[in-house]
């Protein structure tokens, strides 16, 4: 079943990063769509507006936010929300995305996605905030699972149950980051495939994938290396079982020659096509 039939199939793309802008245009036919990090364009000025326009003229753009702090019990920062709305309005995407996390509490900006406790109150908080965001941004919102170094105390359910309830309560689709799922399974010792089977597969709209790095026996989601075999396996499994519309390679650090990025996009596209044929 497909819970988001109105969202078109986008294909396989990459998270836009300025250093490989020229290569993107040189290899236009190999990149089906782009994800843009909203926060990189918030203080954009005239040059940033030009860049957005240029990208939007050639690619479908999906705005991806980092700092809305949808899980904050204190509510949303409205001026930030307005600025996100301005970008969504500009690029007219089929949907936009944010994280199941909080980044701000009291006046402290953590500047990083922090985990929510798997509780009913946290589900209420994120549902209330999604409702506020919807009043300002009239485009479907999908929510991404994050990695965590620790589980917040007071859990009343498993992570899979938490994600299921959030999808039900907010009516949002899911951006499943398969690398985050794999990373958490390694660091917290659970079976990634079992977790996948417990997720609301019919709500998955988009995927993220990339490789991280090891720090001792902890896997860090640094978005800094080639996608490992375990993540390719998970990606294949999800593509086989969920009504995915788009797949994004989310490389941030240690950017390789663009040819390596293209190789990964081709590989994901081939997997997807083979599953469908």
């Amino acid at each position: 079943m497909d819970r988001e039939p109105n969202i078109p199939r986008l294909g396989v793309g990459v998270g836009f990063r300025t250093p490989f802008k020229s290569e993107l245009f040189l290899n236009r036919s190999e990149v089906d769509f782009l994800e843009i990090t909203v926060d990189h364009f918030l203080d954009r000025g005239a040059e940033g507006d030009d860049e957005l326009r240029l990208l939007a003229d050639h690619f479908t753009l999906i705005p991806h936010g980092l700092d809305l702090s949808l899980g904050s019990a204190e509510g949303l920062n409205e001026s930030y929300l307005d600025r996100v709305a301005d970008i969504v309005e500009k690029v007219k995407p089929p949907y936009w995305s944010e994280h199941i996390a909080f980044t701000r509490a009291d006046d402290i900006e953590m500047g990083h996605l922090s985990p929510l406790p798997f509780t009913h109150r946290a589900i209420d908080a994120i549902s209330e905030n999604v409702e506020i965001a919807r009043r300002v941004i009239d485009v479907p919102l999908i929510l991404e699972n994050i990695t965590y170094t620790m589980q917040m105390p007071g859990a009343e359910m498993t992570e899979a149950e938490f994600l299921n309830r959030i999808v039900d309560s907010t009516g949002c689709g899911l951006l499943l980051d398969v690398t985050n799922l794999y990373t958490n399974s390694v660091n917290h010792g659970f079976d990634a495939n079992a977790m996948l089977s417990a997720l609301p597969l019919e709500a998955i709209v988009q995927l993220h994938f990339v490789g991280g790095r090891w720090d001792g026996d902890t896997l860090i989601d640094s978005h800094s290396s080639a996608t490992p075999p375990e993540v390719w396996d998970l990606l294949t499994e999800v593509l086989d079982r969920a009504p995915v519309k788009g797949v994004i390679l989310e490389r941030d650090e240690n950017l390789p020659p663009f040819g390596e990025i293209l190789d990964e996009l081709r590989r994901a596209r081939t997997i997807w096509q083979e599953l469908e044929s």
């Binding site: 000025g45 005239a46 509490a105 402290i108 406790p117 105390p153």
Partner: protein, 186 residues
């Protein structure tokens, strides 16, 4: 503890080293440890705090190439100390963070034995990187462009559908504002 209190405690614990350490010490040997004490002693909280600092340090290193060069490996050690006592600002966060780090670092030169030896070179690097960064931040005028209805729907209300758009940075809040002006000519 309410969700709001939990988030507030967590945010403070992962951004304020002194606060976290004081709770951790209080917790040692205590019989009834409350939630903030337990969180302060949690290895995952420490790891999260380290991740936050690593991200800020990476952003500062890009903005302060000379200081990074002069400090070499000490850059991340020094930034770690700084970040544990200073939180990010809301607007222009990584630029402001890098500037606050420079001020803090300059104040450390006379008192930090490791910095004393490279004091003159470091002071010069601080001055140069600060000059570059403040120049960028103080720039009130960001840009001007001729736009039409396709780029800016508001411009459709003007007679020929063309207008000028000016971006300015507000001196107090540092937030970005956009002003749409009617074109004085066609």
């Amino acid at each position: 503890m309410s969700l709001r209190e939990l988030q507030s405690q967590f945010a403070r614990l992962v951004t304020d080293d002194a606060y976290r350490e004081s709770l951790r010490h209080e917790a040692i040997g205590a019989e009834n440890r409350n939630l903030p004490h337990r969180l302060a002693a949690d290895a995952g909280v420490l790891a999260h705090a380290a991740t936050l600092k690593r991200k800020r340090a990476g952003a500062a290193a890009v903005r302060l190439p000379l200081v990074r060069h002069v400090l070499a490996d000490q850059f991340f050690e020094q930034f770690d100390q700084f970040a544990g006592a200073h939180t990010l600002s809301r607007e222009q966060r990584y630029d402001r963070d890098a500037l606050t780090f420079l001020t803090w670092l300059a104040s450390r030169i006379p008192v930090d034995e490791q910095l004393k030896g490279i004091g003159p070179r470091l002071s010069q690097a601080i001055r140069i990187n600060r000059h570059e960064l403040t120049g960028r931040l103080r720039r009130a005028y960001i840009g001007i462009a001729r736009v039409d209805g396709r780029q800016l729907p508001e411009s459709a209300r003007f007679p020929n559908g063309m207008c000028l758009c000016v971006w300015l940075r507000c001196p107090g809040s540092q937030s970005l504002r956009r002003f749409v002006l009617r074109m004085p000519f066609t």
